[in-house]
Subunit: 349 residues, 2 copies
Amino acid sequence: MRIAMLSPISWRTPPRHYGPWESVVSLLTEQLVRMGVDVTLFATADSLTAGKLVSVCERPYSEDTSIDPKVWECLHISEVFERADEFDIIHNHFDFLPLTYSGLTKTPVVTTIHGFSSPAIVPVFKKYNGRAHYVAISEADKSPELDYIATIHHGIDISQFPFNGNAGKYLLFFGRIHPDKGAYEAIEVSKKAGVKLIIAGIIQDEEYFKTRVEPHIDGETVEYIGSVGPDKRAEVLGEAMALLHLINFNEPFGLSMIESMACGCPVIAYGRGSVPEVVKNGESGFIVKDINEAVEAVGEISNLDRGVCRSYVEKHFTVETMAEKYLGVYGKIIGDKDCLGEGANGNVK
Amino acid sequence: MRIAMLSPISWRTPPRHYGPWESVVSLLTEQLVRMGVDVTLFATADSLTAGKLVSVCERPYSEDTSIDPKVWECLHISEVFERADEFDIIHNHFDFLPLTYSGLTKTPVVTTIHGFSSPAIVPVFKKYNGRAHYVAISEADKSPELDYIATIHHGIDISQFPFNGNAGKYLLFFGRIHPDKGAYEAIEVSKKAGVKLIIAGIIQDEEYFKTRVEPHIDGETVEYIGSVGPDKRAEVLGEAMALLHLINFNEPFGLSMIESMACGCPVIAYGRGSVPEVVKNGESGFIVKDINEAVEAVGEISNLDRGVCRSYVEKHFTVETMAEKYLGVYGKIIGDKDCLGEGANGNVK
């Protein structure tokens, strides 16, 4: 089976630091390659893959302002469609724009909807509904106006997240610094609980950082360590007592919660968006309603078995599980029942 | 011959007030329809045409901020490509994005390049160079990196611009209020020449308007009359002594200069961009180098014959001439030598 994997070009695939969509594309691509599938990754030229790399855009536009996003997006997307007959499936991770090219090719297109940035983009998904094949990344993120071929949770390469059975002495905020993600709420909880907070992540909202976060940073009770790349991620997560994920929006999927649990670190989260699908309440973390409940949860966190967090991820959120589910979708679309078995050795078609 | 005419959706086709690309698309479409060509106009749903109208976008995004440009652009563009086999030619007036769909259809695509908004967009035109058919709107706007099938100047429906042989008592600035267009320079010239200036046009740069233009508006020596729609345009142009077109950029094509000359009003312009191709120096206006030369030109303007301005436009810049040249391009592409003659009755193919 020959798969064209269309990644965004906002960041490198895989991203150097931040870039959740590119991260999932990379995880899926590399796992499929390991399983013997013939995958061609369409991504920025600096991307890394064990599959084949095709690129028209030299660098990620979020890292290089000389790259005009609108120009390079359409050149990048059209490249895969102009080469569509080289592939059995085009797997689109690039939001809505590629859908508008999908009516011009016979190669089936699967689109993973990595979240709706705005209701304004829904008309495009509605137009191609029925003709396109949509994969939701959580039940919570499904639009009632669309039909989905499957819901496939993200999975991680668990070998990159070694288990740490010993809870450390700090709470952790790990994500974009933006009101949506609840860095300020994490500060409140850590202060009330009297436990140090480490904040890790890119600053996406400068104003919010300056007014709500920065004034609390003293390096002792609240420490900001910037964006944490893949090399330090497992260490920062594994040594935390708990991850505070007090989000203020319906997050389509919370990858950092899985990464945290894989390292043995339980999650204290508001039950919005994908959280109830990702956190097993009372086992791999606590789903809470407000700041006070979160503070109580910090007090009870030592009652949770960090090994359970790990095994919960091993069972539900590995890249192997994710890749097998996607292979199932590909097979369903091209009518190839065999693609999960021998087909996956690359000899199919 | 069946033509799909792809207009932008920033404004209605034809525009209510401002909208130069949509204006040219409308002029060409209606003239081709009058010549018996089967034209389907892809434009906003409120557009007007004697041909067939196809629209997916209800209203122009520059008039209705609830319309997300990126979403509706791609829905609009993909519509014409998904219906490509209904047409012998797709004529693209929508800048670079449609080019990236053109490789996915067998229907030939002609692209009129209405100017390069930035050097950043050139890579798209370069990618499709040789495969696409580019029409330049002036020799001045040609990129040395691209091949063109023709240069076709814009033409106007001269019946909408009645001749006025009597020079009025005011100078006219007619265009966007933006540093590029030289409203401030027009004020300088009118003050030095001691002749009233009327300013007409949309305010595109608020800061420039407030600091460089508005302080001079007194309703007596400098009057601002806002954006002038098609109903008042000929009156405002025809009663002017001269049009001041002291542009500070290489304008791809100056439609207002033709409209002005058609009404008998000569043009005083800086010789940038398309100006030397549009103004016959010493006959239909004066091409000047600086403010002082422009002031001198105002003093000499009564020496020009307003009838010569009119006949110059009748000879070179009518919509009939423009449409015939485009028919020649269509015929060249589809190898139909007859499309200028009998072919144009709509029975071709």
